[in-house]
Symmetry: C2
């Protein structure tokens, strides 16, 4: 495939265009995209034009472009994210109904916790998590579960830091984090009081595949001082049922 | 951007590669992708290699590739589909809990009903709908709502046929469909007994934006002979609450 003078492939440049769209930046002009993607203006206009023609981006009335429904459809319909999420959803709903707080599903992706789903009742409290959003491994309860059961190489890379503080309670000391990961492996779950947001405590359990490997984390976000046991009980029950639904022998 | 001898852009070829993945075909070899996308084998291998390098596709142990989590993330995190779905989800859950049947959200996309969400209890019955899957406008209750309130040009194109029968009860006669669409506009909702599957009845109501334009359909799939009124009541209540949540003045 044709490469630009700088040696990046057309695919790379398409990815750079798509990466300029974020949960809080959903509409942009081609010129803004070019500037944010580090592409010459003419290149940005040409790529955006092709993506619009293919239906992957859509133009709005103000001349800006957004991610198109067609791109969402193509990326979702055959995605492993969808299979995991569909298996988990009925049991996540049960957790949400009983605990009545945000209920979330995350996987490990490029050294961060990537959230596949978030269920929130109309009465749930504050929550920084977004669907298709990410949180750092050392600060979120989901991230601590994913990190504790990840391969040693990733653990050492994260422990090498930097461990950015999100609140005054985020673990930023590598020795403390190492002890915390050991605690998570021993308990089988993670409790993270105030490390993402001062006002809340994250509680997460692992989801395992048929080989016992951890493939995801299931979590709830509780008010900071709420008891964690009732939520943990529901999370463990849901994890067991989701693992059964995912098993190759499931009806 | 560089075009192939046949004049299609690199973007077109990327889209053709992505289009070979479907809900039931989630893993393929590069050679299979090339054949299904109508691309020379060497071109398919090169594009697949670039997409894997960019993280948009992922290679599995068997040498096949799947849609990557990164592509799902990029396509989802800023998508209008996500905003609509997140606003609708708590109220769809309420419908699902009360009606205890599949609860779905669909939009009009390229002359079909594209499903953004489907909630199913563990006890729900048969259902052909998939998230990021499509159903024909003339056969599904969601499709009938979307078509009834679509612009006349689309209505005439669909009425011009062909109107494929999915069951013995699918409307395949243009005059009958025209009367049905008029009925949907008069009632404000669609009831479609047996037209997608013999054993079930679809019930759908429209979702409107602040200008009154129909932007989506909210539906449930009931057993064929079940009463539709209780489900309709819940759907209308949910539609009202979702419209309020989507309104620019919503807290």
């Amino acid at each position: 495939m044709a490469n630009s003078p700088s040696g990046d492939s057309v695919t790379d440049r398409l990815v750079r265009v798509l990466e300029t769209f974020t949960p809080t930046r959903t509409a942009q002009t081609a010129a803004e995209i070019g500037r944010r993607a580090g592409l010459p203006n003419s290149t940005a206009h040409r790529i955006v034009g092709e993506l619009v023609a293919a239906g992957l981006l859509e133009r709005d009335d103000a001349g800006r472009v957004r991610v198109g429904m067609r791109l969402w459809e193509l990326a979702t319909r055959s995605s492993p994210a969808l299979r995991l999420r569909q298996a988990a959803l009925p049991f996540m709903e049960r957790v949400q109904q009983r605990v009545r707080e945000h209920t979330q599903l995350a996987i490990l992706e490029q050294d961060e916790a990537l959230f596949l789903e978030r269920l929130s009742g109309t009465e749930s409290g504050a929550n920084v998590t977004r669907v298709a959003g990410r949180l750092p491994l050392h600060a979120s309860s989901s991230g601590l579960v994913l990190l504790a059961f990840a391969d040693r190489e990733l653990q050492e890379r994260v422990l090498d830091g930097p461990l950015a503080p999100l609140t005054g309670d985020t673990i930023t000391d590598p020795r403390t984090l190492r002890r915390k990961l050991d605690e998570v492996r021993t308990l089988g779950h993670a409790i993270a009081p105030g490390s993402m947001e001062e006002v809340s405590t994250g509680v997460a359990v692992p989801l395992r595949d048929a080989t016992g490997a951890v493939i995801a984390a299931l979590s709830v976000v509780l008010p900071r001082e709420a008891p964690t046991e009732p939520a943990l009980l529901e999370l463990y029950r849901a994890a067991r049922d989701i693992e059964r639904a995912l098993s190759p022998h499931a009806g």
